[in-house]
C-alpha cells in the first residue's frame, strides 16, 4: 500500500502545482464541473490547493438532459463546499428544441460546446481547468497539460520559465483561452484510489444497481451503463484492476460516425 500512496502523492502534488501556477498567471479562471468523478476529483484538488476556499467560479454546463442524481449532487456539495457556482445553458438552442433526438453530435455541440463558448465570452475567462485524463479516450492521448486553443505547444510545465507564460498572455486574443488539464496523467483507477483515500463523495450512479453501473456519467441519453456488481469504491477498484476496456470505447466509433453525418449533412447529403 505504501507504494501506492506515494504514487497518489506524486499525482496530487503535480496537479496542485499546475492548479496554483495557472491561477497565479491567469487570475480570471474557472473550473468546469460536470459533477462526474473526474471533475469532482479535480474540484477536490482545487479546494486543497487553495486551502478549502476556491478563489474563482465553478462552472457547470447544464444540458438539461443530465440524470436527476447529478443535480442533487451539485446542489448538495455546492452548498457544503461554499462554491461560487455558475450554471450555464444554451438557452437559445434549448428553446429551439435541441435535444439528443435531433443528432447526438449536434446536441453535444450545441448544448455543451456552444454553451461553453457562450460562458467564456460572457465571463471573459482566460483559462479553464478541465478534469480530462489521457487514458480516457483515444483522441485525448495527445492532449497537453496546458493547451492553448488552436495551438500546439509542447513544454515541460515543471521547468517552465515565466517568459513563456507571458508570451502566451500577450498573444492571447479575446476569443482565446488556455485549457489547463491538471489530471491529464491520472488513470481511471488512480481517480478511484484517490477517491477512496480522500473519502471524496461519490455519486450513486457509479455504484451497481441490478447488475449495472455507470463508468462515466454525462447526459442520460448518451451514456449507457456497463455490466457490473461493484457496489462500493473498493469493489470498483478491484473491478478496474481486472479489466482493460476503456470506459468510453463503445462511444468512440459512434462519435466518429456522428461527426461524419454532420459533415455530410452540412453539404446536403443524408
Amino acid at each position: 500500500m505504501s507504494n501506492n500512496l506515494s504514487h497518489l502523492d506524486a499525482l496530487e502534488n503535480n496537479s496542485i502545482f499546475i492548479i496554483r501556477e495557472a491561477y497565479s498567471q491567469f487570475r480570471n479562471v474557472a473550473i468546469l464541473w460536470s459533477i462526474g468523478k473526474d471533475s469532482t476529483t479535480l474540484l477536490w484538488l482545487v479546494r486543497k490547493a487553495f486551502f478549502g476556499q476556491i478563489p474563482f467560479p465553478v462552472l457547470h454546463i447544464d444540458t438539461t438532459y443530465k440524470f436527476p442524481e447529478i443535480y442533487d449532487f451539485r446542489e448538495k456539495y455546492a452548498k457544503e463546499w461554499g462554491l461560487n457556482l455558475l450554471v450555464t445553458k444554451n438557452e437559445e438552442a434549448l428553446a429551439a428544441g435541441m435535444g439528443p433526438d435531433k443528432s447526438k453530435f449536434q446536441c453535444c455541440n450545441d448544448l455543451k460546446t456552444v454553451a461553453l463558448k457562450q460562458a467564456i465570452a460572457k465571463y471573459k475567462f482566460n483559462a479553464l481547468y478541465l478534469g480530462i485524463r489521457r487514458d480516457e479516450h483515444g483522441i485525448r492521448a495527445k492532449e497537453r497539460v496546458f493547451s492553448p486553443r488552436d495551438e500546439d505547444f509542447e513544454w515541460d510545465y515543471k521547468n517552465q520559465p515565466p517568459e513563456l507564460w507571458d508570451q502566451y498572455k500577450t498573444k492571447a486574443t479575446e476569443e482565446e483561452h488556455l485549457r489547463v488539464h491538471p489530471l491529464l496523467g491520472w488513470r481511471e483507477i488512480d481517480i478511484w484510489e484517490y477517491t477512496k483515500r480522500e473519502n471524496i463523495p461519490v455519486n450513486d450512479l457509479y455504484y451497481a444497481k441490478d447488475g449495472k453501473r455507470y463508468r462515466s456519467i454525462g447526459c442520460h441519453t448518451c451514456c449507457g451503463p456497463i455490466d457490473s456488481n461493484a457496489g462500493t469504491v473498493d469493489e470498483i477498484i478491484t473491478e478496474l484492476a481486472n479489466t482493460d476496456i476503456s470506459e468510453r470505447s463503445g462511444r468512440a466509433q459512434d462519435k466518429e460516425d456522428d461527426y461524419m453525418m454532420q459533415k455530410l449533412r452540412s453539404l446536403g447529403y443524408m
Binding site: 483522441i139 461527426y259 459533415k263 443524408m270
Partner: protein
C-alpha cells in the same frame, strides 16, 4: 533527379465551362498560361458524380467496382445500417503506393485515415481526427503551427455566409502555406494537392457566380483568383520537364430543384417503411422492392442480400424495367427530370460488382437528386444554389515526355490511368 516529376492539382467540382471562362476573362491568368501549354478537355465524372467515388478513381485509375467506393454512405453487409466508407475501404492501390519515388499528397478527398507511405500525406474530406489525418505524425505540429485546418466548416454557411466565407479564406490560406512548406522542404517525385473549397463555394453560392450584381459575386471571383495565384507560384517553381495535370472530379451547375428520390419510390409503392416508425432505412418494411442511397443510387431489395429482402432473382429485371419507366417519364413543369439511368452492368466492372447499385440516376439540368428519406414531397429547394454534374468535369495535361491526345471525351477513370502511367 528532376526528370519525370509530376504535379497534380485538383480543383474540386470546377466545371469545364468555368475554367474556360475564368482563364479567358482574366480571373485566373496563371492558370491561363498553364493551359496554353496543355491539352484541355471536358471529362466525365464517375457514376455517381460525387467526390468520394471520383477522387478514388483518379488516384487509382480504377472503376468503382474495382476500388469498392460507391458513395460517402454505404450499408453494412446484410443490413440496412449505414456506414461511412473511408480510405481503409479503398480496394485498389493508389498511384503513390505504386510508385517507388516519394510523393506529397495533400487534401485528396476520401483518403482518411492516412497510412504509412513514402512521403507526406495529409488527408482530405472527410477527415475527423487531426492525428489520423497526417503522415508522418511528426508533421502534426508543423501543420498546426501553420494553422492548417482539415476542412472548412460548411455548417457555418447555414448560419452566416460572411462567417463561412471568412472560414473558407482562412482554410485555403493555410492550405496554400502548407503546400509551400512541403514544396520547399520535401523531396518528391509526385506532388498532388486538391482545393476543395471550390466545391463548397459553388454549392452555397453558384448564384453569386451567375449573377454579376450578386452581393458575393466579387468574393466568388476573388476566391478563384487566390487559387490561381497559388497555382502560379507552383508553376513558377516547377521545372520545365515536370508534367502538370490540372483537373476536377465532377462539374457543377445551377440548382433549380431538389428531387427526393426516396419519396418518389415510396409514393410509387417501391419503398415501404414499418408503420408507426420513422421513415429511415433502418425501418424498411418487408414489402420494399427498392431503396436509394445518396445521391441517387438505387438498390433492389434482394432476398439473398438484405434482412427484409423481398425481390427474387427471377423478378429483378421486371422491377428494374418498371423503375426505368418511372424515372424516364418523370417531369416537373413539363421538364424532364432524369437525364441518364445507368444500369449496373453499363458502368461497373470489377471484383466488387456485387456491391454496386442496380441503377444510378443522373439528374437533368438543374435537378439535384437526393436519397434522404426525410423529403416531405417529391420536389423541393433548400439553401444550396449549385449542384454536381456528371458530364463536364475538366482535365488539362502538360507533358514534355508524352504525346497527349483524346479521341473521345475521357472520364476521371481515364485520368487516373494517365496519372498512373506518368507516375510509374
Amino acid at each position: 533527379m528532376a526528370e519525370n516529376r509530376n504535379i497534380i492539382v485538383g480543383l474540386d467540382g470546377v466545371p469545364f465551362g468555368m475554367i474556360k471562362d475564368f482563364t479567358e476573362s482574366g480571373v485566373m491568368p496563371n492558370t491561363s498560361k498553364l493551359l496554353n501549354d496543355s491539352v484541355l478537355t471536358p471529362m466525365y465524372s464517375t457514376v455517381p458524380e460525387i467526390s468520394s467515388v471520383a477522387w478514388s478513381s483518379i488516384i487509382t485509375g480504377a472503376n468503382p467496382a474495382e476500388h469498392g467506393i460507391f458513395g460517402f454512405i454505404d450499408l453494412h453487409p446484410n443490413s440496412y445500417k449505414m456506414r461511412f466508407p473511408n480510405f481503409n475501404d479503398l480496394r485498389a492501390a493508389t498511384f503513390w503506393e505504386n510508385c517507388e519515388g516519394p510523393s506529397v499528397i495533400v487534401n485528396v478527398p476520401s483518403t482518411y485515415p492516412v497510412r504509412s507511405m513514402n512521403g507526406v500525406h495529409v488527408s482530405g474530406f472527410v477527415s475527423i481526427d487531426y492525428e489520423k489525418s497526417v503522415y508522418p505524425e511528426s508533421l502534426v505540429s508543423t501543420l498546426k503551427g501553420l494553422e492548417y485546418r482539415l476542412d472548412v466548416d460548411s455548417m457555418l454557411a447555414h448560419k452566416s455566409m460572411d462567417v463561412f466565407l471568412d472560414d473558407l479564406d482562412r482554410t485555403v490560406d493555410a492550405r496554400i502555406s502548407s503546400i509551400q512548406t512541403f514544396w520547399d522542404q520535401c523531396k518528391w517525385q509526385n506532388f498532388m494537392f486538391v482545393f476543395t473549397g471550390t466545391d463548397r463555394l459553388m454549392h452555397f453560392l453558384w448564384d453569386a457566380y451567375d449573377d454579376k450584381g450578386h452581393k458575393y459575386h466579387r468574393k466568388f471571383l476573388e476566391y478563384f483568383s487566390k487559387i490561381d495565384a497559388a497555382i502560379g507560384r507552383i508553376i513558377d517553381l516547377s521545372e520545365n520537364s515536370d508534367s502538370v495535370i490540372l483537373l476536377s472530379d465532377h462539374g457543377f451547375e445551377k440548382l433549380d430543384h431538389d428531387v427526393f428520390v426516396s419519396k418518389i419510390l415510396a409514393e410509387e409503392g417501391f419503398l415501404h417503411f414499418n408503420p408507426s416508425e420513422e421513415s429511415s432505412l433502418q425501418n424498411i418494411g418487408p414489402k420494399t422492392k427498392a431503396f436509394a442511397l445518396d445521391p441517387a443510387r438505387i438498390y433492389l431489395n434482394r432476398k439473398d442480400k438484405y434482412p427484409c429482402g423481398s425481390v427474387e432473382e427471377k423478378d429483378a429485371n421486371e422491377i428494374l424495367n418498371q423503375l426505368e419507366e418511372l424515372f424516364s417519364s418523370l417531369e416537373i413543369d413539363g421538364r424532364k427530370v432524369i437525364k441518364h439511368i445507368f444500369k449496373k452492368e453499363d458502368v461497373y466492372e470489377g471484383p466488387y460488382f456485387k456491391d454496386a447499385p442496380d441503377l444510378v440516376l443522373i439528374g437533368d439540368t438543374g435537378f439535384n437528386l437526393k436519397a434522404t428519406t426525410a423529403g416531405k414531397s417529391r420536389f423541393g429547394k433548400g439553401i444550396f444554389t449549385g449542384k454536381h454534374t456528371y458530364h463536364d468535369a475538366f482535365l488539362a495535361v502538360k507533358s514534355k515526355n508524352r504525346n497527349i491526345s483524346f479521341d473521345k471525351q475521357p472520364s476521371v477513370i481515364d485520368a487516373g490511368k494517365l496519372i498512373r502511367s506518368l507516375t510509374k
